[in-house]
């Protein structure tokens, strides 16, 4: 192994990969949320459908989206390897454990696995259909555009799907409550001046972003009633 592979397969190296990809995914969450909030624009889906068309056809976005999938994969692979190694590091457990750490910080693997399940379902529901499936077509300003807005609003008429989306956002919020600040610690950023700020942003981020996502299906469901 050369120095680089040695570095990224050491425990700290793997952690740095997980932290870096995790923070990139945080950025993705923000961009994705800002785009999706157009679902609430109340214009019959015009702005959202145009945005969806741009996102699926722009070459730059296509490149970034490949990078995004690679980062998701790296995040999963490295954290899975770490989790397996961490389990192996204590073959015999304790009879009694009293924890002095947060529940979320101890259960990132569980939370992450649930988020992965959600992601698979979420992609199958919308992304796959948009990319490869049969879609209804709508005319906007003389252009023929796939009507993703219709597909989304149909899906969010089902209270079960709405409930599942809101529930999943709680998991993402918990995952972020530890992950966001933890990533900076892994990069070695710990400072009397900046750590309180990072922690504050972390708390705001893990509440505001999942809340923003959760509002969309709820509002769309209520509007369709």
């Amino acid at each position: 192994m050369n120095w680089f592979t040695k570095a990224i397969t050491s425990t700290i190296g793997r952690k740095i990969v997980v932290a870096f990809t995790g923070l990139f995914l945080c950025l993705f969450l923000v961009v994705h949320l800002l785009g999706n909030l157009q679902l609430l624009a109340n214009d019959g889906g015009k702005s959202f459908n145009l945005y969806a068309k741009f996102m699926t056809t722009s070459p730059i976005i296509q490149t970034i989206s490949i990078g995004n999938f690679v980062f998701i994969l790296l995040h999963i692979i490295q954290s899975t390897i770490l989790t397996i190694k961490n389990r192996q590091a204590r073959p015999v457990g304790y009879a009694i454990v009293e924890n002095r750490s947060t529940w979320a910080s101890r259960n990132m693997g569980f939370l992450g696995s649930f988020i992965l399940l959600f992601l698979v379902g979420h992609l199958a529901n919308f992304w796959w259909k948009m990319k490869f499936g049969e879609m209804p077509i709508i005319g906007i300003d003389g252009m023929q555009v796939k009507d993703l807005y219709f597909v989304v609003s149909e899906a969010f008429k089902d209270p079960l799907i709405v409930g599942l989306y809101v529930f999943s956002m709680v998991f993402i919020g918990l995952h972020l409550s530890h992950g966001f600040q933890s990533a900076f610690q892994t990069f070695g950023l710990h400072h009397v001046k900046y750590t309180p700020l990072i922690q504050f942003i972390g708390w705001v981020f893990c509440i505001v972003v999942p809340l923003g996502y959760a509002i969309i299906p709820v509002v769309m469901y209520l509007r369709a009633l």
């Binding site: 050369n2 120095w3 570095a7 050491s10 425990t11 700290i12 190296g13 793997r14 952690k15 740095i16 770490l82 190694k85 961490n86 192996q88 590091a89 204590r90 073959p91 015999v92 457990g93 304790y94 009879a95 009694i96 454990v97 009293e98 924890n99 002095r100 750490s101 947060t102 910080s105 101890r106 990132m108 530890h178 600040q181 933890s182 610690q185 892994t186 990069f187 070695g188 950023l189 710990h190």
Partner: protein
């Protein structure tokens, strides 16, 4: 005080251990936890039974030998060493469960004694500095800011007891390694081996089979010397910087 103890008994490294229940009577609340074990062991000896093996040395809270996992915490409730844990921390009639440190890298030798030489090998890998032999240098010959000296000293108070490993859900040794790396990285005397040190100590830490840090903070919450999580951030950036810039391939 009368207490019920459930203690892990294991004949040797290869045998399968089990919990055994003991009852101790008339324990003074001013006794240390280890003194309570001395009383129990004397009773066991009088009965002709094998006394419980446990590590201890200075009994002043500075050597880091005592290593019992008591009621779900390394060194018991409170942030202290087991020798400085007093029976007044418990209530009359309590049941106390005592286990050895649990980690692949700390195999059980007997009963509550674990082999912590993995820590020694990590220190051997890089936890040292090069100095000239000869006369002792004058004190304060090298100017070091008070804040830096204090931070380095705080890291240096790590006694290598292994409570961080015992407390961590991943049996990670990061807080220990971080304390040692940070202590030297902050001081001028530590600069000579700075990059090599962190690379080699982390490589040894991995080779010993310790888990990875997931920043739960359980280690710092249990550390009897209150080593801060900030040291782990220092370790991470030292490692990243060393890997990126050192000449060792």
């Amino acid at each position: 005080m009368n207490l019920t103890l459930k203690v892990w008994r294991q004949k040797n490294a290869n045998s399968k251990g089990e919990f055994k229940t003991y009852h101790v009577k008339d324990i003074s609340p001013d006794m240390s936890f280890l003194e309570m074990f001395d009383v129990l062991n004397e009773e066991l000896l009088l009965k002709g039974e094998d006394p419980i093996a446990f590590d201890h040395d200075c009994r002043e809270g500075i050597c880091g030998m005592c290593s019992m996992y008591i009621n779900g915490h390394p060194h018991g409730p409170g942030q202290t060493t087991t020798c400085q844990l007093h029976m007044r921390s418990f209530k009359d009639g309590d049941t106390i469960v005592v286990e050895p440190w649990r980690a692949k890298a700390f195999p059980v030798v007997k009963d509550l004694v674990v082999d912590r030489s993995a820590f020694d090998r990590i220190i051997q890998a890089g936890g040292y500095i090069s100095v000239n032999t000869g006369n002792a240098p004058d004190a304060n010959e090298i100017p070091i800011p008070k804040e830096v000296a204090d931070a380095a000293f705080n890291a240096a108070t790590c006694i290598g007891c292994g409570a961080c490993v015992a407390a961590c859900k991943n049996a990670s040794a990061m807080l220990f390694v971080a304390a040692k790396v940070a202590q030297f990285a902050m001081l001028p005397q530590g600069q000579v081996e700075r990059k090599k040190r962190v690379e080699q100590m982390v490589a040894q830490m991995d080779a010993e089979g310790f888990g990875a840090c997931t920043n739960t903070g359980a280690c710092a919450a249990e550390c009897p010397k209150e080593i801060s999580l900030a040291n782990i951030a220092i370790l991470n950036r030292e490692y990243l910087a060393a890997k990126a810039t050192s000449e060792y391939v």
